[in-house]
């Protein structure tokens, strides 16, 4: 591959250096910004706004999405976090209630905070940290 750089450390302009393993281990291995309310809605709306290392999102039903990785994780001990947002009238009333890990995908389930019923999110953002296969 053209432009390949092999280095054990990275040095800043101020002279501070860190091992490149900090960057490798500390980088998000996958992320996605999804509008779950428009993944199946009118054609002029976009489901996946942007992403990295995601091949597809599966809409499993209300408030239930699976993010499938292009490059799977090596094990299921990786870290998966999410930030979700509801509509403008009740931004604070939604939370990520549950998630399920798999090697090649993560499932995110969201609910209303007050009624605990499943609910779609306008922004269902996920980030994954860990080791890649």
């Amino acid at each position: 591959m053209a432009g390949k750089i092999i280095a054990d450390t990275i040095e800043t302009g101020a002279g501070a250096d860190i091992p490149t393993s900090y960057v490798v281990n500390g980088s998000a291995k996958a992320w996605c910004n999804l509008d779950g309310t428009s993944a199946t809605a009118a054609s002029d709306l976009t489901g996946v706004r942007d992403s990295f290392n995601i091949s597809a999102v599966v809409d499993n039903g209300v408030g239930d999405y699976t993010y499938v990785f292009s490059n799977a994780m090596s094990d299921v001990n990786y870290s998966f976090s999410a930030a979700v947002r509801g509509d403008s009238a009740s931004n604070d009333n939604i939370f990520n209630a549950d998630f399920n890990h798999a090697f090649s995908a993560s499932q995110l389930i969201m609910r209303n905070r007050d009624a605990a019923s499943a609910r779609d999110s306008q922004q269902a953002c996920i980030q994954t940290f860990g080791d890649l296969a």
Partner: protein, 152 residues
């Protein structure tokens, strides 16, 4: 833009290159499928950056690589991937059309039990459609099923 020679390069690094150099491609296709009689229809939404990589070619591994990794994961007491090199060392796929990319994505991300026997039961278990053919609101989303006449 030509894709660099990527065989032997970690897939994640290839995806980094794709992210920097390719414009995301929003496919209008959706794949509707049912893998449980107790659950509503699921809808696969292609990722725009993945679609761009598939159409560009020379980035993604062949789909059989994912099947091999899935076989490993299905083994009892499987804990950790040891054949990830298949993702990185196998010769990448050439450029695909949008339709070929969707077929590849089905074979990668839809359960094999669905796409291998999609039309063998009383009604189809899977439909490829345009986004505009789906209901325009998500009302009653958890009741969506594939009908006998292939309409989602």
């Amino acid at each position: 833009m030509n894709t660099p020679e990527f065989q032997g390069t970690h897939l994640w690094d290839r995806l980094c290159w794709a992210k920097e150099n390719l414009e995301g491609y929003q496919s209008d296709y959706r794949v509707v499928y049912e893998d449980s009689i107790d659950e509503c229809a699921k809808i696969l939404v292609p990722d725009p950056n993945w679609m761009a990589a598939a159409i560009q070619g020379g980035i993604l591994p062949p789909v059989w690589v994912y099947w091999e990794l899935a076989k490993d994961e299905a083994q009892p007491d499987f804990k950790k991937h040891t054949r990830g090199y298949l993702l990185h060392d196998t010769e990448p796929m050439p450029p695909m059309t949008e339709e070929e990319a969707i077929e590849y994505l089905i074979m990668k991300d839809v359960p094999q039990s669905v796409w291998q026997n999609w039309d063998s039961g009383n009604k189809p278990k899977m439909v490829i459609c345009r986004k505009g053919q789906l209901p325009q609101t998500r009302e009653w989303r958890n009741a969506w099923r594939i009908t006998d006449d292939l309409a989602a």
